[in-house]
Symmetry: C2
Subunit: 247 residues, 2 copies
DNA sequence: CGGCTGATTGATCCCGGTCAAATGAGGTGG
DNA sequence: CCACCTCATTTGACCGGGATCAATCAGCCG
């Protein structure tokens, strides 16, 4: 079973949900089945979901990076969060009439697009699954709150360091770290829009982190040279990520 | 029935939840009953919930203002959101092992403290009630996201204007507006911590709004002199508040 | 009256924004 | 293979929004 799961595109999803809630084998199988039936692909730059859309399905990311964002009139944009492999875009978002923000693909993505009726049937028969998805949703909330702190009360250097720490620790439980490096597809523009900084200043802040021997970042590869040092200047405490929840 | 509800301390709660979901009379009665059994009082300045607490009940605010916040080591504080009469602190927060943020009373508050078991029994027999509380939770998420935009991509004047617009529109559906004025118990320090500004600059920004004849604010009373003007400079669009959801 | 909290004002500084231009890295078509 | 275009990164110069420090003022309460 475990070895079978290793091959499944649903692996990161199951891995994540199991941290939230104890899942019985039949629940895992049922979810995997639902995912397998509903696999879609998206191109880099494409919007999976646009602000104002009616949501009638649940999208679970199997591979690739996306971002939630809101665009303002005058060209400004705020990235609200990133969506990483194994994470769910919008479990239960169909409960609200329309979505308040857009979700765009940063890289090519593979995802499962499970229709509302199918999803509701799934969680009705497998209640732990339903709860696990609710935990997932609540977790987006805790991350969103930490981002508010980041944007409101941290200086540029702390802010950027914090976001790097967070992404690094979120990639770890789904097995996307390779030692102290990871694939890092964000442009500096993306990082600027996520941290509320200008591209120019973001660039200078990255250089500061590089010259402090904390990170190296080039050709879409991030290497954390000194994780503890980075966490220290970011005032990073990972508890809000609930990486090791005891069910 | 309606006239009876008018007298009930649960009135703002019912009013809010009915916007989210159609509620049957027996559901309203059941909720009212649960609230009546569980009424508590809190003093101004008191923390109802502290970061790191295990949550094992659901707190529904009947009157008074609170704020969610996170405190940083060095004395900095970020207010994440306000909790107004009729709103629920933490429906379903018990699904996560510990809470990531604190909730403090700004004014004296009256609230219902419904134990987890009681709450779960309530929503099990009355499913629309459960869904309405989930909508409430999702709504906190949409507000949190709008705050990220506020903190990340708006200038001081827009930011403060935006938060005033939001509070004003959130008070409206629970009947806490009196024409173009409302009770406004926040200190300038609270507003500064909510907008990510310094107290000094917040004070100057308020003066700017006053001299532009958009608001007047003194002795804990806010009067909006020109709501449309205020919305215009805030780039305020209330859709994220889902004030008129069609169930 | 003294002490406290919150609002206000003034002076100064600096973090980070803005503008503009240069450099580099693909990607594409002739 | 080169010319050319586009997009991302980088650098320099300058400016300004908002932070910081410090002092004053206004209520309020014991």
């Amino acid at each position: 079973m475990t070895s079978l799961l290793d091959q499944s595109p649903a692996r990161p999803v199951i891995q994540r949900l199991k941290v939230m809630r104890q899942l019985a084998d039949d629940e895992v199988v049922a979810l995997e089945q639902a995912i397998r039936e509903a696999i879609r692909r998206g191109r880099a730059g494409e919007d999976l979901i646009c602000e104002g859309d009616c949501i009638d399905s649940v999208r679970i990311i199997l591979s690739g990076w996306l971002c939630r964002y809101k665009a303002l009139e005058n060209g400004r944009r705020q990235i609200l969060n990133f969506v990483l492999p194994g994470e769910t875009c919008d479990a239960y978002a169909y409960l609200l009439s329309r979505t308040d923000h857009s979700i765009g693909a940063i890289t090519p993505v593979v995802y499962a697009d499970i229709k509302r009726a199918r999803f509701e049937q799934l969680i009705k028969t497998h209640t732990s699954l339903g709860e696990a998805f609710w935990c997932e949703t609540l977790l987006m909330g805790t991350i969103q709150r930490e981002w508010a702190v980041n944007l409101g009360r941290r200086m540029a250097l702390e802010r950027v360091a914090h976001i790097l720490c967070e992404l690094f620790e979120r990639l770890r439980p789904v097995g996307l770290l390779d030692g102290n490096t990871c694939s890092f597809p964000l442009t500096q523009m993306d990082l600027a829009d996520a941290t509320g900084l200008s591209v120019v200043h973001l660039n200078r802040t990255l250089q500061e982190l590089r010259s402090a021997k904390l990170i190296s970042l080039r050709e879409r590869i991030l290497r954390i040279e000194d994780l503890n040092g980075l966490k220290r200047i970011a005032l990073f405490s990972p508890t809000y990520l609930y990486l090791y929840q005891k069910h």
